[in-house]
């Protein structure tokens, strides 16, 4: 039971982190119809920029400045890259963002090297917030949780209650009409792309210390984020939110319960083979839940796309 509660909290933190990425991705997709495959690269960029700033000035300045830098970079990519590719159609746009992912990954390795960098949480958050019957929750995780919830609330407020949010929502469904009403839709696009990548950058800034900052971090999280967006339904913010939490919990629980296939097989009445390492079904016998944890999201993705191509909450044809 204690493990269960700890896992609920850990999964929630991870899920909200995923949502910070998937929300930006969803906004960008619903606006521009392009799935930004380089999204996770901006997440990594956020972590590395924050590390570089934190070396000079400490963690807190990095927390503010790095997401802003990533926002500017993202807006630049939209203005000077994506807008040009847009005229060729959707497939080149996808190819462009896919290529950008690898270029940013290479650039990060070029600048900061191929091994991990020492980006750590601030000392003022280096204590245990509370303990739950044996397990402990460090203060930094509580901080991550607060930031994510804060972002979620702010995003909801901006989209639902402000004028800019109204324009964005209108442009989601009727971009032509919004343009005809005199709004600068390209500027809105640039802004949404910038803010979306900026959110990914912020996620990188707060995730860097706890998930380690290394060149593979974008790859590790990137495909999971696409899974969230597609499973939730492309273009649906609430769908992305629910899918992010779902996958956050799915991965956290799979990683911490060491259920093996052997247990199930023995319970079903099969006998454990003597020489398991030479047995033809050795992979099945040695399979454990933490092992298949990383592939669960992809299985979910394929199942959803096969049986419900619009995702769990998507209405939009893709």
């Amino acid at each position: 039971m204690d493990l269960f509660v700890i896992n609920i909290i850990d999964g929630l933190i991870y899920g909200l982190l995923l949502f910070m990425l998937s929300s930006g991705l969803t906004l960008i997709f619903s606006m521009m119809g392009v799935l930004n495959l380089s999204h996770a690269a901006f997440y990594m960029l956020g972590a590395y920029l924050a590390y570089q700033i934190s070396v000079i000035t400490g963690f807190w300045v990095g927390l503010i400045v790095a997401p802003i830098l990533v926002t500017i970079l993202g807006a630049g990519v939209e203005r000077y890259g994506l807008r040009r590719v847009h005229q060729y159609g959707h497939v080149p746009e996808l190819i462009f963002t896919f290529g950008l992912f690898f270029v940013i990954e290479e650039l990060v390795q070029y600048i900061w090297g191929r091994s991990m960098v020492n980006y750590s949480s601030p000392e003022s958050l280096d204590f245990i917030a509370f303990s739950l019957a044996g397990g402990t929750i460090p203060a930094y995780k509580v901080f991550m949780l607060l930031i994510s919830v804060g972002i979620f609330v702010a995003l909801y407020y901006v989209l639902a209650r402000t004028r800019i949010g109204m324009i964005i929502q209108a442009a989601l469904s009727y971009p032509k009409t919004v343009e005809a009403l005199g709004h600068n839709v390209p500027l809105v696009f640039m802004g949404v792309f910038g803010v979306g990548t900026g959110l990914a950058g912020l996620a990188g800034v707060i995730a860097g210390p706890s998930l380690t900052t290394f060149p593979g971090m974008a790859f590790l999280l990137g495909s999971i984020v696409f899974v969230c967006v597609v499973v939730g339904g492309l273009g649906s913010l609430s769908g992305a939110f629910i899918a992010s939490l779902l996958i956050g919990w799915l991965q956290t629980f799979a990683a911490s319960y060491n259920v093996g296939a052997a247990d199930i097989l023995i319970a079903m009445g099969y006998e454990f083979p003597k020489d398991v390492y030479y047995h033809p079904w050795r992979d099945l016998w040695t399979l454990t839940l933490p092992q298949i944890g990383p592939i669960l999201p992809y299985i979910l993705l394929i199942l959803v796309l096969v049986f419900k191509p619009n995702g769990l909450f998507g209405k939009r044809e893709t």
């Binding site: 497939v91 462009f96 090297g113 495909s223 992979d283 298949i292 394929i302 796309l305 893709t318």
Partner: protein, 421 residues
């Protein structure tokens, strides 16, 4: 009359194939070094893979992020078959092994395609990405088939000899690969000439109208997808024969990206585009890869620039120049081109030198001297920094000026009377 012209057509259309066959046979006698034959083998494999990828992207309009999977699966099975043949449970001469790989690729594509080709565009791309990640992750888990992190390996020389050839040397393998490259290319060309191949283009360009003509776009996509899987499997078996080992690296997302890169650089809109792309990409990878560890960065940047400014690829660049040639105004272009050549080169060299210099100082800072373009110099002196920066800035500035002239000359050279500009 028709009979005569058909016969004539058959002869004239077989000429390019005969020429290619002759070139493929002569090549190893021109480039005799062991290194160059290794590179040529790699080029051959990449050609088959890139062309099969183009069946999806170029001809069918389906963007796949997991094409390496079909090559990888075909290759893994080929290695297993190689091991079975070695243990004499099965009699199979090595030159027929690619067929096995192809059939495996076809089988796998039949399963995956049955649901993934329902939609084109983003959904197809996402499913391919998901499958790619899934199989790559399974590589580590299912060790019986994929061999875990170290992969699985075999021995090609243990197969029964074919006409006395045991495929011990690289050169013998080269001829095997060359044969399959030519055969696959020919079959893929024939595929583009079939009604399904033609309809694939129609479905790519306008799926709705293709439906109205009476073709199911899903069925057309499915057939193209299976055919692409077949040829990717052939490439995988060729890979298995050439390297005798397959690992997770050969079917992960990175590999799929390389396939996309090679195909796109060559030009997706043309049948032969991927051939040029595969040759250029492999040369970049092997030759530049030896000179600098930043080759992935360079190819990535070239790729991005290409998507932005030259979406038709290198073949498209050549095809573009056919218009002024046909109009007889190619002469107008020669002067501005020769003018931009030198500043462009200076800019390029300056930028590369700066990038390499920064890389050296950042990651190999303990060594004071570095060698670049066969010249050794001191990285802590001011001169190289100033020189390279100047080259970059001046080269860029002059290129910008001359680029305008090129654009003007281009407009003039391709201007057609009466056509709206």
């Amino acid at each position: 009359m028709t009979n005569y012209s058909m016969k004539n057509g058959a002869i004239s259309s077989s000429v390019p194939w005969i020429i290619s066959a002759v070139i493929l046979i002569i090549l190893p006698f021109i480039f005799t070094g062991g290194g160059s034959i290794t590179i040529m083998n790699q080029i051959g494999i990449t050609i088959v893979l890139a062309m099969s990828y183009n069946m999806l992207l170029g001809q069918g309009g389906m963007l796949s992020f997991g094409h390496a999977v079909y090559m990888g699966i075909g290759g893994f099975v080929a290695v297993h078959v190689m091991n079975i043949v070695e243990n004499e449970y099965l009699w199979l001469p090595l030159p027929l092994l690619p067929l096995v790989g192809g059939l495996v690729g076809l089988g796998f594509a039949t399963i995956i395609g049955s649901f993934s080709t329902r939609k084109a565009g983003t959904v197809f791309a996402m499913i391919s990405l998901g499958i790619g990640e899934l199989i790559a992750a399974c590589c580590i888990i299912i060790t019986v088939f994929f061999g875990g992190e170290e992969g699985i390996s075999g021995d090609r020389t243990m197969a029964p000899p074919t006409f006395g050839i045991e495929f011990i040397t690289q050169k013998e393998v080269y001829f095997l690969i060359a044969f399959w490259v030519l055969l696959s290319t020919f079959c893929m060309y024939l595929f583009t000439q079939t009604p399904v191949g033609k309809m694939a283009n129609a479905v790519r360009d306008n799926p709705e109208r293709a439906e109205f003509v009476g073709y199911s776009m899903r069925w057309v996509r499915y057939v193209s997808f299976c055919a692409a899987g077949f040829f990717a499997g052939i490439a995988g078996a060729l890979f298995a024969i050439n390297y005798e080992i397959l690992t997770e690296q050969n079917l992960n997302l990175n590999m799929s990206f390389q396939v996309l890169l090679a195909t796109y650089i060559g030009g997706v809109g043309f049948f032969l585009g991927p051939v040029f792309g595969a040759i250029l990409f492999t040369l970049l990878q092997t030759v530049i890869g030896l000179q600098t560890d930043l080759w992935a960065l360079y190819t990535g940047i070239v790729f991005i620039l290409m998507v932005m400014f030259l979406p038709t690829g290198l073949t498209g660049l050549f095809a573009m120049h056919l218009i002024p040639l046909q109009l007889g105004r190619f002469g107008l272009l020669i002067k501005p081109y020769s003018k931009i050549f030198l500043p462009g080169l200076v800019f390029l060299l300056g930028t590369i030198a700066l990038i390499e210099l920064i890389n050296h100082v950042r990651h190999h800072g303990e060594e004071q001297f570095m060698t670049l373009f066969w010249i050794e110099f001191d990285t802590r002196a001011f001169l190289p920094w100033i020189l390279f920066s100047l080259m970059t800035i001046v080269g860029f500035y002059l290129s910008r000026i001359f680029a305008r002239e090129v654009a003007e000359a281009w407009g003039e050279a391709t201007y057609i009377e009466g056509e709206r500009r």
